[in-house]
Amino acid sequence: MEEIEIAFGKVTKILLGKELRGIDAYAKWIAGRLRGGVKRKKSVVSGNAVLCPSVRYYEGMGNKVVTAQEALLLGEKKLEAGEVEALSLASAKETLSRISTSTPEIVWGTNIGTLECSNYGPTQYCYRSAFCWFSKCVAYSFWPRECEYAFGCSYVLQCSFCIHCYNSTKLSRCFEVSDSTNCADCYFCHNCENVNESMFCFNAKNLRYAIGNREVGREAYMRVKAKVLAQIADGLEKEKRCEYDIYKIGCGN
């Protein structure tokens, strides 16, 4: 857990210029926009806790979930030959009821310091996330793959040092960015490609030091960036949340 706290501190320092600690205090804000999270269910066999990603196909199983170890033992249970011969679609639910369980606890490869995650591997220091593959220092995220230092992100691939990034690939040091690829040091951007050191850009390509899709030059950009970051960091420190998010910009809310 200490490593996750350190990682959160590092990312907030890099992105916002202020190191924030106590990640769980920010949980509501960090996980606020996730498409799915991790839920606790009870094993139908033992009552033990089963961490389950919030996706329809696991939720649709109702209570028929078990832990990973239990699942392997239950795999030994089988129907009788007579039951198999009589099996039909109409009778399947009833006939299969004593073997039809599954587990969302899928763990691959070597995992170090990963806590309260579901469906993951290989990982290091991942926390309260689902479908974490080949990632490290990720928390409150959903389906990060080959990511590091990502917080409150979903459907991200090869992203690092990001907070609240969604449906994106190859982002570095980004905050509130969605549907983008190959971007770095961006804040509040949507559908951007090869955009660097920019903020509030939408449907744009190949920009640097841009605000609202207009390149303003390094000096002016840095001046505005300092004000924006200070405002976000202050809000987070005082209220543990940031009222601005990429899905709300420009919709009158």
């Binding site: 196909y57 099996l87 039909s88 679609l89 449906n167 549907d179 002016a220």
Partner: protein, 254 residues
Amino acid sequence: MENKNAPEWVDKAWGSTCRTLLGGEVGSIGKFEEYLKRDVPHFRIGKSSISGREIVVGGEYVEGTKFISGDEIGKYALAAAQLNVNDIKDIDSIIEALGESVRYCGNNLIGNCSNATLANRLIDSNFVHCSYDVFYSKYVAYSNGVKYCEYVFGSEGAGKGAHFAIKGFESYECSRVFECVHVYNSSDCFYCANVENCHDCLFSFNLRSKRRCIGNLELQEGKFAALKAKLKEEIAGELGAKGSVQGILGIMGG
């Protein structure tokens, strides 16, 4: 938005998939649309503020959000001309300057994509219909979260290398799957959950490295083939007649 008139290629690909999985075609895909969409989070339809066209949008957009289509980006200009950097005091002043010119993108196709209808967030994918988050894949319909796959219908989380899947949830490196959840490195699986490295398995659960199983019971080749043919015929018959069939989640009791 209903879509009873899917493009011709969707019907052809659906026919190929049914022949491969069920041994024969069961009808035009329009009849199965509701079934294929069942248990798969559906996309949202928005309207392009430029052309008025209906487009597929993804993301947690709030009421009042305005969209454009990915092929209209050339016509789009953010109202940044009104933005004087010296006047920026805080985030609110930037948002105010951008005014109502902010548009989010739907029907977004990245890289080399073709034959995409009602699709969003595609990367290098072809022949995709009513789907989103499809990367490096072809012949995909009514699905999301699909990577490196072919002939995938009504599926979610079809990971690397799933081929010929109908209602495959979280399938990875597998071929010919029907109504399955968590099927890894497997082939010819019907109504299975949590199976890895398994082949020719029906109505089986929590198996590793098994072959020719029905209800987790391993069977002789001849016996298995006869029962499999009977069950496949029943599935195809019901699907063809009703346009829908009992799903794996229904069988598991959800």
